[in-house]
Symmetry: C2
Subunit: 207 residues, 2 copies
DNA sequence: GTCTATAATCTGATAGAC
DNA sequence: GTCTATCAGATTATAGAC
């Protein structure tokens, strides 16, 4: 009863509408903030009534969840694309700086996405297990990258995430569109690398 | 026509109600998030109808503004109380660590306040000039403190704020109630001090 | 799958009696 | 200064026709 050409067409069409809705949700949220997403606006933007969205998503939180998932997929792709270029670099310091810029560019290029992925700001929202798994995958990818630069224990990694999210956060909050904190990234990486060298754990946690 | 004992009593009573309302607003916001503040809830908590609040505040944003102002006053007092104790310390490294803990304790002890003071998360809200002046005063106080530790140029100060807000933010977002990032503070300060020493600007910006 | 209709509730804010 | 009454909407979500 399944697998007919007609079913194929139908699911493809449905999938297209799903991504169309999520894309429209990102647009709204970039204009009116994370909390400013409403089903009516969303329906209007995608060419249907707000109530019809419920044929695709059971609730508003399910839309946030799809955005959360898509955001982390974008993160993984963003880092993948740029780390292959870094891999060809000989200088590990240079590679670490590139990685840091890659992360901060991702954050500052879309502040609302940063807010959804890396901060807890929507009161009722908890990511589904499936979306959370994607988030963990992104986190692990970043951790594996840093291990290459000698960041092989949890404490040092936590210090790096604090520094990099701190730079992103200040850049977004206090100098949107500028580079007041972004231009401190190279200096921050040099500082972190020097620190990591003095706190080296000999037992690497690599596989 | 003014200055009679009756006027005195009246303004004192009014002032008491004003702070009572702001205190109740903090309670609500700690329970339901920054965006979860409503005039009806606020009125109920303070013992009047929601509409009566408008006798004290012209709009909801004026309440956010009062909270913003009060939050920065609390920050100034918090730092003042603890920096006098630090002043008696001989070791500048120790003093810097105490200052960093003071800042991060302030942030993590009240996440919603941190959100209101240091992040831009309420869509329509802009602090009034009066409240903004208090914020600038708090910022300047922190800057003057760091100058004592050799952080005498803007770039180095920006790096410190990024590190300290980054640690606060990670602590709040990813380990609420714990100390996973808080326990990295001493190490972070040592790292920042070593960095500041190598980037010393001879022309101090002190008065 | 999309519609209309609507439930049920919340929102900030104003007018005017007392 | 607090109340009642009310405006003028907004919100998420469901039921049922087509």
């Amino acid at each position: 009863m399944s697998g007919t050409p007609n079913d194929d067409r139908r699911t493809r069409r449905r999938q297209a509408t799903l991504t169309e809705i999520v894309d429209a949700a990102w647009e709204i949220v970039r204009e009116h903030g994370l909390a400013g997403l409403s089903m009516r606006d969303l329906g209007e933007r995608v060419g249907m009534r707000g109530q019809s969205i419920y044929s695709y998503f059971a609730s508003k939180n399910e839309i946030y969840d799809a955005m959360f998932c898509q955001g982390y997929e974008a993160f993984i792709e963003w880092v993948d694309d740029r780390s292959s270029a870094e891999g060809s670099s000989e200088d590990p310091t240079m590679a670490a700086k590139l990685m840091a810029h890659t992360f901060i560019d991702f954050c500052t290029s879309d502040p609302v996405r940063y807010q959804l992925l890396f901060q807890r700001t929507i009161p009722g929202f908890e990511p589904s297990p499936e979306s959370y798994a994607v988030a963990v995958q992104g986190y692990e990818q970043a951790r594996q990258q840093l291990i290459r630069f000698g960041v092989n224990d949890q404490a040092t990694f936590d210090l790096w995430t604090a520094m990099l999210t701190g730079l992103s956060d200040q850049q977004i909050s206090n100098d949107p569109g500028g580079d007041r904190w972004e231009r401190l990234v190279d200096r921050a990486v040099e500082m972190l690398l020097a620190d990591a060298a003095t706190h080296l754990h000999q037992e690497s946690e690599q596989a």
